[in-house]
Symmetry: C2
Subunit: 211 residues, 2 copies
DNA sequence: AAGTGTGAACAAGTTCACAGCC
DNA sequence: GGCTGTGAACTTGTTCACACTT
């Protein structure tokens, strides 16, 4: 029963799902793995194989019913639930993140924001009053938080992560360039634009490409 | 000569390099693949194999001289050069990006910023006067730009990308949730926090983990 | 003695190709 | 007839294990 599903597969499902949302809005009701593949730059076999880890969602000779596949993917990914998210660090990046409407639209509800600076504490961002980081530990004992987004300055990233984990937060999105150490049961993803730029400059430097 | 180097390897090099920068600051002069591996959560064999694609940088029985390996990696990745970067779209996210000091520190110089909104055009961010997007096409004929960072709203992402490519920009960092189509010789990386969150919720939903 | 560099073994992930079903 | 689902073939990427160097 518990066949281990490759992480790369999990990472592709949200991409499939995003595209399905778009074509559903355009009124599309059925799509084949072939068409999906062309749009998403993935082979049709890849898509069929990926989906086959979870069930048989297609209609043979026909393709996938957009709405049905969407429902399946949202169920698999847990997007049929609401998730509570907090943002720690409300510098320029944190404020941009906290005020991005896309999170709420996708079921990621930013319920609280924390910062150290007295200049920021008490201000309102996206309808949320910024609290002191001092409140964080205690707040986590009282209300459940699924995901913590860390946008503090680099040197505090590990401390904040430790606090979050101690408070029962199971997933962390780290916008800091610091590499954070977490126990393996904690979900962690890092967003570090510098690393992206640096792998791109490799290719710009070595234009005997292949990519 | 032109052995094809796996993309995953290229993506790891900046991580190795970042760690070497850190330990160099701490005064470390030599490090073994074993120690590197522990810190970066990679097997020592992986590190040695990755580096072996590019040369023999280690000293047998000793490890790697931090400064030497750093120089090699920076040379490989093209980090010994300066890169010119422009930011298109100066909403909250674009302003956060444009004012992040990390780019300059790593040799990525933001030389211009563009926006459509008359409220933003003419304002100064990080010492740069925001120009009209109307100027972009013409500017690109006059000065060389290596990398474009797209932080406009989703619906304009493809248009901006097309403009950049027409103007000779070879690499694009797309902060937009839109999937952009580019010719294969153009470097493209996407930063979409929603996709990260959605793959994390898969694991939160299916805590029979393995991760 | 310690630790690299690397072919060979292994594991993971992708694509093929076709049986099966609508 | 067209397209899915999936074992099997293949390709890519990782780890092993040891000869080699200092």
């Amino acid at each position: 029963m518990t066949m281990q599903i490759p992480e790369v597969v999990i990472d592709r499902l949200p991409i499939y799902r995003g595209f399905l949302v778009r074509i559903k809005e355009e009124g599309r009701t059925v799509i084949s793995s072939h068409e999906l593949g062309i749009e998403l730059d993935v082979t049709p076999a890849q898509i069929r194989k990926d989906l086959s880890y979870f069930g048989r969602f297609g209609k043979q000779g026909k393709g996938y019913v957009v709405q049905d596949l969407l429902d399946e993917l949202e169920n698999i990914l847990g997007l049929d639930k609401q998730w509570s998210v907090i943002v720690i660090g409300l510098g320029r990046l944190g404020r941009a993140v906290a005020s991005y409407p896309g999170f709420k639209e996708e079921g990621f509800n930013i319920t609280s924001c924390y910062d150290v600076s007295s200049e920021v504490i008490g201000t309102t961002i996206n309808g949320i009053v910024v609290q002191s980081i001092e409140d964080l530990q205690n707040d986590l004992t009282k209300k459940h938080v699924d995901i913590g987004i860390i946008t503090v300055s680099s040197e505090y990233a590990q401390n904040v992560a430790d606090l979050l984990i101690k408070g029962g937060v199971a997933a962390i999105l780290n916008y800091t360039p610091s590499r954070i150490q977490v126990p393996k049961e904690i979900e962690l993803k890092n967003i570090n634009p510098i690393l992206f730029l640096q792998s791109m400059t490799y290719h710009l430097t070595n234009l005997n490409k292949g990519n």
